[in-house]
Symmetry: C2
Subunit: 346 residues, 2 copies
DNA sequence: GATGGCGTGAGTAACGTTTTCCAAAATGTT
DNA sequence: AACATTTTGGAAAACGTTACTCACGCCATC
């Protein structure tokens, strides 16, 4: 039929209005369930809309202030933990009519700013920043342009809401578990951070801090041993190599993220050692491949699904009322013991 | 400063024009490098733009037909193979000024249609569909509304370009490798497909077909053994369980995707068998965790990065000229032999 | 039977940008 | 010096939608 035409013109609200013999205003009102439309009018308009296959043009709606679009900034699309968050998000958004669009490729502060600005420029109704590395001032600035929810960062602002996990408690779970097994030389691989503000706020640094606190609490202050790399598989590989080269090498490694633990496992395998007989390894995030049997990684579960759900809820509330007081939600992690941790070889 | 204001008004082209003492038209012309702007004018306008920190409002541009946005539909955000494609895409797009936004959550034809329609409604300049399951007619329909490039599907259309991998050749590589090692009972786990059109076009069915052809070519027609599940870890687990329960169980399993191989490895480990001593396993995609040493999966590399690059190039060309003849690019896969395949136990 | 209120629908302006014109100025040609 | 041509910059319209304002007719009330 007209599918063969080179380029079809969109069906607009004007077409619907003409078809239903009413004004465009009326069509708009019906669509938005606005006040002042009689039942007969509603029926006429809805009939015309389905007959013409009308879909409102979100790009035009943007000019009037609503796009029904929520942007999510992901720092790394390969980290499967973020997928859990997204699942929770989509589920909570359900059939609210909001469409989620993802922006990725954020390696670095500049790229992150590019993505978030792009989302603002596209008139998104709200944006979700997952573990952003931008300065607090920049987050604050963004939050004044558009409703924002920040995930994973331990900061507090009147301008945006935050959802995060209690990383201190999570680190304590791991250290407690390993110490309970009899380990003393428990090392940690962290994601290097230099910026003083981020040191206070980023989950990775809080996790390292939690490790230090927990080591102290177990009387292992002298055994604190941290290597700084990055939260990537490569970072885990390099970090573990350093640790294995120590004269008195650790009996357990607490990696700051599952993906880091993967790299550590690789370095350990390469060194001809076996896990957990020679050395124990624990991760963080309980990503799907931590559960994968051949690996079966001891880790900390952050309830990504739940995080996503809360995030969606907070964002919707803030979209509805931009002046509402800001909320900080902190969830409690739980320990998942699998097969990469065991008592140290005596 | 004014960051503390409750809600800042955007800087518009009008503000820039006033600041530079020129007309809005002039500002627009300078931005778009249009004809009819003197060097002095350009300087004035650019100065005003930077002084005011102006960023064009993409949502308004959409009303004039260009948003500088490219939408990518991903069927499954957890499959790391797609991340490789995205990397290639972003790299090729480089600093063309286009912003990539991802739409995911496409489990099912309805959700896929929702996402693609949402992208069209947001005025995106072009969309990339990765392994879409929609009917050919629907793809055709989309391509008449917006420039489209389809990745992974073996179809041909005058309305859109396609980039795919030679899945028949890829399957032949695996079967050849296993047969060369001495295997005869080589089974395959496929992604079930019922729709007749999709059977001809989807990469998973082509891969299964390639497996059949290769088995014939090696004189192993009687040993053809296919279980139909899905391209997920669960699908691999269930499929392998079925295969292991066979009275005369296969000595090698060719999983249609790496993630399927992961599930198969899990089922095999659970059955108390070891890989590759008792049974060989091969995957497809060469995802990042296939290379992960503790797994070290034999697989087929599809050059996702390259696929992404070609896709970007084709889309840009089609955006520039919607009437250009359509192009079909088919890339050749390569075999990556690792540690999950070995000669069968004699 | 005039007045007031309310429910219903339409007209109009506005959002920020680009494109299509057109006028004026500058330059080149006889 | 008069005219033709090119260059430069601006005014106005358009894109699709929604919010605001207002007019009309209907009913209840005095």
């Amino acid at each position: 039929m007209d599918k063969s035409q080179a380029r079809r013109r969109r069906v607009t609200i004007i077409d619907v209005a003409r078809h239903a013999n009413v004004s465009p205003t009326a069509v708009s009102k019906v669509m938005n369930n606005a006040y002042g439309t009689s039942p007969s009018m509603q029926a006429k308009v809805r009939k015309a809309m389905t007959e013409l296959g009308y879909r409102p043009y979100a790009a035009a709606r943007a000019m009037r202030g609503k796009t029904y679009t929520i942007g999510v900034m992901l720092p790394d699309i390969r980290n499967p933990f973020f997928a859990d968050i997204l699942d929770g998000l989509e589920e909570a958004l359900g059939d609210t009519g909001y469409q989620v669009l993802l922006g990725s490729s954020c390696n670095g502060e500049a790229a992150e700013a590019r993505v978030t600005e792009a989302m603002i420029d596209r008139g998104m109704d709200g944006i979700i920043l997952i573990a952003p590395i931008s300065s607090s001032a920049h987050l604050e600035y963004l939050a004044h342009s558009v409703p924002v929810v920040v995930v994973g960062r331990h900061s507090r602002s009147v301008a945006f809401d935050t959802v995060s996990d209690d990383d201190v408690a999570g680190a304590a779970l791991i250290v407690g578990h390993l110490a309970g097994l009899g380990h003393r030389r428990i090392a940690h691989i962290e994601h290097r951070e230099d910026d003083p503000v981020r040191i206070r706020e980023m989950p990775n640094t809080i996790r390292a801090d939690g490790y230090r606190q927990a080591m102290h609490a177990h009387g292992l202050a002298n055994d604190i041993d941290i290597v700084s790399t990055t939260y990537t598989q490569d970072g885990g590989y390099l970090g573990a190599k350093q640790l294995l080269a120590r004269p008195n090498r650790p009996t357990a490694i607490f990696a700051g993220a599952d993906i880091v633990a993967m790299g550590a496992l690789e370095a350990i395998a390469e060194a001809g050692l076996s896990v957990p007989a020679d050395i124990s390894v624990a991760g963080y995030d309980n990503t799907s491949f931590a559960a994968f049997r051949p690996i079966s990684l001891t880790t900390v579960d952050q309830a990504g699904h739940q995080i996503g759900g809360f995030t969606a809820q907070l964002l919707l509330e803030r979209i509805a009322n931009r002046a509402k007081p800001s909320v900080q939600i902190k969830l409690s992690p739980s320990l998942v013991v699998r097969n990469t941790t065991a008592p140290p070889a005596s």
